[in-house]
């Protein structure tokens, strides 16, 4: 006590009462989690119902509290702003208290638990107490009695606010929400987002195919941060351990495995998982889990009988820029060459198709060259039965985003196919009905994602499929 200046101590009985009440209130808040423990068991439905408004209300105190420092600072030049700061701070306290109560009801009612939930809870409680203290300390600051205490406290409140809000965001969106789409360079720089490999036996079917399903669909609620139903699915051990309803995987018996039951309930069933309108597992993912459980739910087996997974991975697609601003020019191309630029879909990022189908032989290399300026937006070029020749490859090599290229029944010879090598996005190339030879195709092997090359009726093709079928057999009844 001696370190605190005596003038800081509450003087009037009214302020003293306020301090005492605030102190009691804070203690009550701090005791709350010990009285109503977050034990992972769901409680009354009404609690959940009200509690679910927490994510909605929560933005109110955030807004109020962020406004306070702005008003205080702005008040230096415009004192009227500072007059309202105290009101906003009061609103901030009331709304924090409300949001905190709802949040607690949400966690308690729905039986949430886990490190993330606990952190978020303490963050919320600390914040509410912090704002309350700010409210009490502010008059001292305003009167000049304690010029540093209030700004310092407010600073702390803002830090706690950001931290608690981040914890909350991680609960709803997953802890890698912010870092997932971070540019690789930034990631490396911040050393974030690279989740350290906790993979069990790398190369096992579990590690390669089963764990990733849980990772992307389940661990938001059944992971380190949030352990709904006492179940964690982020490691093999915790998966096999199960949750409060017992084990969820019965090795060898998919029909007795609670996890499979819950993900295959009819959609809209109360117990369907993933819950709350999150996207359901894909049928093949369920099939893999079923087969994996059926065949012993091993953490080490590298393959499963009857399950083949196409390991072929397309080269990640380069995003196509937004061409909306060029629409007038794009539409004007139609009247010039007769060929059209057509939207793949109404999303600009899906790119454009160059369509020449009703122009035919009149569309040649010169016409193609006119489209070079739209190259970054064109993902598919249909040149079948046009007058395009080998000279057209000079233009085509500029179409860096090209995924599909049709050259059926054109005069291209294959001598210039090497010019396609820079087109790293190319997955489909149709050369049917051209004079392309097998040798001319060899350089294309460097395009990793190019998995569909069509060579019907070319010197490069083996005989077309025409074989006949055996005669019909009849069965006697």
């Amino acid at each position: 006590m001696s370190v605190i200046d005596s003038k800081l101590l509450p003087k009037s009985p009214a302020t003293r009462t306020a301090w005492v009440m605030a102190l009691m209130f804070s203690v009550a808040l701090l005791l709350l989690p010990h009285i109503f423990k977050l034990d992972g068991k769901p409680h009354a439905n009404w609690q959940q119902f009200i509690g679910r408004f927490h994510p909605l209300i929560i933005h109110l105190p955030i807004g109020f509290i962020l406004l306070v420092p702005l008003l205080e600072v702005g008040g230096r030049w415009k004192p009227s702003l500072r007059e309202s700061a105290s009101l906003v701070l009061g609103l901030g306290f009331i709304s924090s208290l409300g949001a905190m109560t709802l949040g607690y009801l949400l966690a308690y009612g729905s039986g949430d638990s886990g490190a993330g939930v606990t952190r978020h809870m303490w963050g919320g409680i600390a914040l509410t107490i912090g704002v309350l203290l700010c409210l009490l300390v502010r008059p001292l600051w305003a009167s000049g009695a304690a010029p540093r205490l209030y700004p310092a406290l407010l600073g702390c409140v803002l830090l706690v606010l950001s931290w608690a809000a981040h914890q909350g965001g991680s609960l709803t969106h997953g802890s890698n929400y912010l870092t997932e789409s971070m540019p690789p360079l930034l990631k490396r720089w911040t050393r974030l987002g690279s989740s350290p490999a906790k993979a069990p036996v790398s190369g096992s079917f579990y590690a390669q195919h089963i764990n990733p399903i849980f990772d992307s669909n389940c661990v938001v609620c059944h992971g380190e941060n949030k352990v709904d139903g006492g179940l964690r699915l982020d490691s093999y051990e915790s998966l096999m351990e199960g949750g409060k309803d017992g084990t969820v995987i019965a090795a060898g018996a998919p029909d007795k495995s609670l996890l499979l039951t819950r993900v295959t309930l009819p959609k809209g069933h109360k117990k369907f998982m993933p819950s709350e309108g999150k996207p359901p597992l894909k049928p093949e993912q369920i099939e893999w889990i079923r087969a994996w459980v059926q065949q012993g739910a091993s953490s080490t087996a590298t393959s499963l009988a009857g399950i083949t997974i196409d390991e072929h991975k397309d080269v990640p697609l380069l995003p196509v820029g937004d061409y909306s601003a060029l629409m007038p020019e794009i539409e004007a191309m139609d009247s010039g060459t007769g060929a059209k630029l057509v939207q793949v879909s109404n999303k600009a990022s899906d790119g454009l198709i160059l369509r020449t189908i009703d122009v035919g032989k009149k569309f040649g290399d010169a016409q193609l060259a006119q489209f070079a300026k739209f190259a970054p937006y064109i993902v598919e070029v249909e040149l079948a039965r046009t007058g395009v020749t080998d000279a057209g490859f000079d233009t085509l090599s500029k179409f860096t985003h090209l995924r599909v290229l049709h050259l059926e029944d054109t005069a291209v010879t294959g001598n210039s196919l090497t010019k396609l090598i820079p087109l790293s996005q190319l997955t489909y190339l149709n050369l049917s009905g051209t004079k392309v030879t097998k040798a001319a195709l060899a350089p294309l092997e460097t395009i990793k994602g190019l998995h569909s090359i069509y060579l019907y009726d070319t010197p490069a093709q083996h005989a077309p499929i025409t074989d006949a079928a055996p005669p019909i057999e009849r069965k006697t009844l």
């Binding site: 049928p283 109404n346 489909y428 077309p464 079928a469 009849r474």
Partner: protein
């Protein structure tokens, strides 16, 4: 009253309303004007409607975008600004329609337990409270008729296929077989309407019309939606098929399907008459264009503009259709694949080949009708004929599309309007049985862009009578087709009769995720 440019009446300059004549006379005059106007227009409307059914180019009418200055108006429907809703897997579709209702348990829905139940009565519990058609409801008993043909497993997928379909057997790893398609109708007309338009009553646009309206044309020289009917085999039980199945309903008639005739000129009156060459035709069209344009300026009716472009379309079709139907340049491998039957116009094999040629030329939606599947009796004799007519052609079409690289972005659909009963209609003997209509489950397949190859979806009970797992009602089937073409079926709508009408109707429909690649 403005003078119509084609009207030779002289009374236009008179202001009849202002004349000092009795009111009754004025009214009579007005009535005559209206009637004259009506009759005059009615004649032309008939002609327009006829032209519209000949052509199907989307770029013909646009109320909002009609401009007098351009002879080929670039018109896009409001839908086409918004579609596709997402990047489509398939740009076009070919729908092989097996009119009459193929018997699923004799072709693709293998029911091994039936063999032991030959001529036993079908348990009442299987049929439940279902009402049957008048053709078999009076039968004293419902004897189980196992399939006459053996089934074998084929392909990597191990799909069971009847020996009647040796060619289909070879492509099962490409097919997405749906065993649990089911419909609400038990008779041909409502069932075939439901399958094509999503509604049992006629008057709704069919799938091809919705696609033309929503996605527009890929090739302005050919209609967007074309229909090919296969020639009838008189020994088969053929149900009528007519233009109601490719009508545009309440959508503008330009979205209706254009049929190619199976014999003679593919499109009537498309060839220039003797003595009229291309230049004369062009000059004539230019003159008609001028007059039409004058009409447009006078009356401002956008339909006039659409007519101008219909004429242009017909002019372009004069060269594009002969090119389309000229098979002389097809290599020998084509005939080896499809069989020599494909050389005969109007056969199902010929139509399948045409469907491939239309796919190459950017026709958005091609529907091929094969009738005769209505096997109420004499099934052991008729079904082999039907399968022989279609099996190889289907295989040839799929193989052809695949080796030419077209199957990647073409969706092929094979379906009838319903299935057939496991019990025999009429007498059952070792060599003869028939099957009645059956709506509760029937087998269809798809392949190509957007669907998952080599799977069999859904399960039926041991009698191929009820769906046990994963039903696919018609609306879900159609929603899935639209999905493959990049369309959210809930977003392709048109206001009519106070409702945002859509292909999948008012009962909530779902895209069948299990069918998608």
């Amino acid at each position: 009253m403005k003078q119509h440019p084609l009207c030779t009446d002289t009374e236009q300059d008179l202001n009849v309303r202002a004349l000092p004549i009795p009111e009754e006379l004025k009214q009579e005059w007005a009535a005559l004007q209206t009637r004259r106007h009506f009759l005059g227009r009615a004649g032309k409307v008939m002609g327009w409607a006829a032209m519209a059914s000949l052509t199907g180019d989307h770029a013909l009418t646009s109320v909002a975008h009609a401009t007098v200055t351009s002879s080929t108006p670039k018109a896009i429907t409001p839908e086409q600004f918004k579609l596709p809703n997402f990047a489509p897997k398939a740009k076009r579709a070919i729908y092989l329609f097996m009119s009459g209702g193929p018997p699923q348990m004799d072709m693709l829905d293998y029911k091994p337990k039936l063999a032991a139940m030959y001529n036993q009565d079908m348990p009442d519990s299987v049929r439940g409270a279902q009402q049957l058609t008048g053709m078999s409801s009076g039968q004293a008993r419902f004897p189980i008729a196992p399939s006459h043909w053996a089934f074998k497993q084929h392909g990597k997928s191990g799909t069971w296929v009847s020996d009647l379909l040796p060619y289909t057997s070879k492509m099962v790893d490409h097919l997405t077989i749906i065993k649990t398609t089911n419909t609400d109708a038990i008779n041909h007309e409502p069932a075939i309407m439901l399958m094509n338009t999503g509604n049992m009553n006629s008057g709704k646009p069919c799938m091809g019309a919705w696609l033309s309206y929503g996605l527009g044309s890929m090739n302005n020289n050919l209609p967007t939606f074309m229909v090919l009917q296969s020639k009838l085999n008189p020994i088969e039980n053929n149900q009528p098929v007519s233009s109601r199945l490719w009508s545009s309903g309440f959508l503008s008639s330009e979205y209706a399907g254009v049929g190619l005739r199976s014999a003679g000129d593919p499109v009537l009156f498309l060839s220039d008459p003797a003595g009229v060459n291309r230049d004369v035709r062009r000059k004539m069209l230019d003159a008609v264009h001028q007059i039409n344009q004058q009409t447009y300026e006078e009356l401002g009716d956008p339909e006039t503009n659409s007519r101008i472009s219909q004429y242009e379309m017909a002019y372009r079709m004069q060269t594009s259709v002969p090119e389309l139907t000229d098979l002389s340049k097809e290599p020998k491998s084509t005939w080896d694949l499809y069989g020599s039957e494909a050389k005969v116009p109007g056969t199902f094999a010929y139509n399948c080949l045409m469907a491939r040629r239309m796919a190459e030329r950017g026709v958005r939606f091609t529907q091929v009708y094969k009738r005769g599947w209505d096997v109420h009796g004499n099934l052991p004799k008729l079904l082999p004929i039907l399968c022989q007519e279609t099996d190889r052609a289907c295989y040839a079409l799929i193989t052809d599309l695949q080796q030419r690289g077209l199957l990647d972005d073409t969706l092929v659909i094979w379906a009838g309007e319903f299935g057939r009963t496991v019990y025999s209609q009429g007498g059952l003997s070792e060599t003869d049985y028939g099957r009645d209509h059956h709506p509760r489950c029937f087998t269809t397949w798809m392949t190509g862009g957007g669907v998952k190859p080599g799977i069999t979806y859904g399960e039926t009970d041991d009698y191929s009578y009820n769906v046990v797992k994963d039903p696919v009602p018609v609306r879900d089937f159609n929603a899935t087709v639209l999905h493959c073409l990049g369309i959210d079926h809930n977003k392709l709508t048109f206001q009519s009769q106070g409702l945002d009408q859509k292909l999948t109707g008012t009962t909530p429909a779902n895209v069948v995720q299990g069918l998608l690649a």
